[in-house]
């Protein structure tokens, strides 16, 4: 047992003290911060100079409405009182993010033919006095098709914006001609807001709607942790093979505590780093929320019950260890990290399989499918979390799932230790499956 801790200590100290670890630990939150702050910052920038458009209005009555539509933002989200609704802040931000400013001028033909007018405008576009022009046909309220001419018709954003805003102008014009008030229409087409309430053993609870997002970010977190540290586990297992220290290790201790010690040592490094990052993130989020609150923007920090949080930690550990152990197992079979990395990819992709079960389980979290999927160790971290956040299963099921999962981890470590021990005595070659099978039975 003491030797087990000796191995953990060495793995941990050797890694935590490397410059790489320290740099990555510091850089992580900085990058995170940049990603959190930059988009907001960019969104607040003016998106360049306004696009200059000329308009030939053959209908003679649409220009005012079009100009209005071009120079103002979409107003659909305003309710009758003219106040912004809270229903979809995301969309509002997107609208703002993609905002494009326009400058328009009305061009009258003044006796010129349309062809002559176009020729003149083409000249102005070429001379870079204009970015483009729009021709509105006389029967635009009927079937007439407006035309857009521009220097850069490949710029789909401009094209889409022009089409959108022209549609808006046309719609408003049509409504006006039918004598329908804009406000009446908006009031009539306001969507309902569905308030959902979850009935659980603890009574009724408001659903924040964050369960789904929570599970997906949870799965993503495991995936990231595995991708980040799997290689390290692989390297740690192969290290002694390359330097051939293994012989001394094996002449001093059993291979199982050695393998487990390596796995735990590297994992503690991973958890140290992740904890630092998590704390930095929490600080940053708290800071951001504070900033937003100071600006009067209401923020919604999702409420997570403590039991879910505990499950979150446990299943995160399970998910991480299951896949990290696979890296250890592969490390025990191969001789170089490169080889191992390639072998590991298809196996780790099975983690994604857990996501396939998310939708059927969300629909019926207590079905037999959901039950069995949450008992399979390789799927459990994601599937069980889905169940916990939707319709929390009985405690015995959660405990059983965790037990099966961690037992699998131990079994895999045992297997890896066995293969490693026999494999190291045959240096310099990759094991074939039949060989591995023979090794497992050997010793």
């Amino acid at each position: 047992m003491k030797k087990f801790f000796t191995v953990i200590k060495r793995e941990y100290r050797q890694r935590v003290r490397t410059r790489f670890f320290i740099v990555a630990t510091v850089i992580g939150p900085v990058v995170l911060g940049l990603f959190g702050i930059l988009p907001v910052y960019i969104a607040n920038l003016n998106s360049g100079a306004a696009t200059r458009l000329a308009v030939i209005d053959q209908s003679g009555k649409l220009y005012d409405a079009f100009e209005h539509a071009l120079t103002t933002e979409e107003t659909e989200n305003l309710d009758s009182t003219g106040e912004k609704t809270q229903s979809n802040p995301q969309m509002q931000r997107d609208a703002q993010f993609g905002a494009q400013r326009f400058q328009s001028e009305l061009v009258l033909l003044n006796g010129r033919t349309l062809e002559q007018g176009k020729r003149d405008l083409n000249e102005r576009v070429r001379a870079n006095e204009l970015d483009g022009y729009v021709i509105i046909p006389p029967d635009v309220l009927g079937d007439g098709k407006p035309e857009f001419y521009g220097r850069n018709t490949g710029d789909i954003f401009t094209r889409e914006s022009v089409a959108d805003r022209l549609s808006r102008a046309v719609r408003e014009q049509r409504l006006a001609e039918k004598k329908i008030d804009q406000r009446v229409l908006r009031e009539a087409s306001r969507p309902v807001t569905l308030v959902s309430t979850k009935i659980s053993d603890r009574g009724e609870e408001k659903v924040s709607g964050s369960g789904f997002t929570l599970v997906f970010s949870f799965g993503l977190l495991i995936y990231m942790a595995v991708l980040l540290y799997g290689q390290t586990v692989l390297g740690a297992v192969i290290e002694e093979k390359e330097t051939r220290i293994a012989e001394i290790l094996f002449s001093s201790m059993r291979s199982f505590p050695l393998m487990l010690g390596k796995l735990v040592g590297v994992s503690l490094v991973a958890l140290t780093q992740l904890s630092i990052w998590a704390m930095a993130f929490a600080l940053l989020a708290g800071f951001g929320a504070g900033m937003a609150a100071a600006k009067g923007v209401p923020t919604n920090i999702p409420h997570v019950p403590p039991i879910v949080f505990v499950c979150f930690l446990l299943f995160f550990l399970l998910g991480y260890f299951i896949y990290a152990t696979i890296y250890a197992l592969i490390g025990s079979m191969v001789t170089t990290v490169q080889e191992g990395g390639q072998l590991a990819i298809p196996v780790v992709l099975t983690l994604l399989a857990g996501f396939y079960f998310v939708f059927p389980i969300i629909r019926s979290p207590n079905s037999p499918l959901a039950f069995w999927a949450s008992m399979v160790p390789f799927l459990a971290p994601i599937t069980m979390m889905v169940r916990i956040t939707t319709e929390t299963p009985p405690a015995w099921q959660i405990i059983l799932s965790l037990t099966i999962g961690f037992a699998t981890v131990v079994a895999l470590v045992w297997l890896a230790a066995r293969i490693y021990r026999v494999g190291m005595l045959m240096y310099g070659k990759r094991a074939t499956i039949p060989e591995v099978w023979r090794w497992i039975r050997q010793t």
Binding site: K2, R10, R244, I248, F250, S251, S252, L425, T443
Partner: protein, 305 residues
Amino acid sequence: MTDETKPTLVLDHVTKRYGDFTAVDDLSLQVRPGRVFGLIGPNGAGKTTTIRMIVNITIPDSGRIELFGQKMETRLQDRIGYLPEERGLYRKMKVGEQLKFFAELKDVRGKEADERINRWLEKMDLSDWKTRRTKDLSKGMQQKVQFITAVIHNPDLLILDEPFSGLDPVNVELMKETILENKREGKTIILSTHQMEIAEKLCDDVCMINRAKKVLDGRLREIRHSFSRNAVALQIAGGDGLLDDKSLVVNVRQNGDDTEVLLAPGVDAQILLKRLVEAGAVVNKFELAEPTLHDIFIEKVREAS
């Protein structure tokens, strides 16, 4: 040190196969306490596999291994010090930390470990390198560090697989001296090497292996005696005709400055000396030549094939 002393290590009809290849075939041997036991043989003879079984890295397919009178098990590993043939140290670890790690793996901890590490570094003339990374050390220095990892826990049985490879003459002497020192302290030492001259100087007992099989074992002195072929190494001037007398000498061979003569059966070395003096030869060197391990080994291998 009589034969009645309980042996430190017993191998009893031990066989190890890797697939179709038999690495060790029906090997039996006994290593007695307080002696230097030479496991000798050419490369690929099965020495390393034998040692791996002794230190419990691999388990024999058949046969029995007994250490300190007990069946081999993990706990006994702490009483063995092992210097493997293929050396390995963590390249990026500092020498001191590295030694501490291996000491802890052998259950030597804390202050005790620190003291021993300092003592050994001092002895191996490596004190200045304690805080340096292992990869900065020369090959010979690394070899000495590796040796310290084998002895740091003061083992009762020391197994050294080719301990002299990569060492310069000064360090070879240092290593030899350290090995003999361990012997004086009552440790049992198994020395595996293909360098017969070194084995000859250090070993009390030897076991020769060739192609997975034992060809010979016993006390070195007795072995050499039993192989002595009634030969004499000479440095003489004059009296040359005498060596052509087939009733006296059956074979003459020049070996460096020495003339090695194999006496005819029944002829005593004293008779040759007397006859040489009578013939007026100047005798500068007259030495009873015992065969070297090398000679014995070659002879045994030839016999077998």
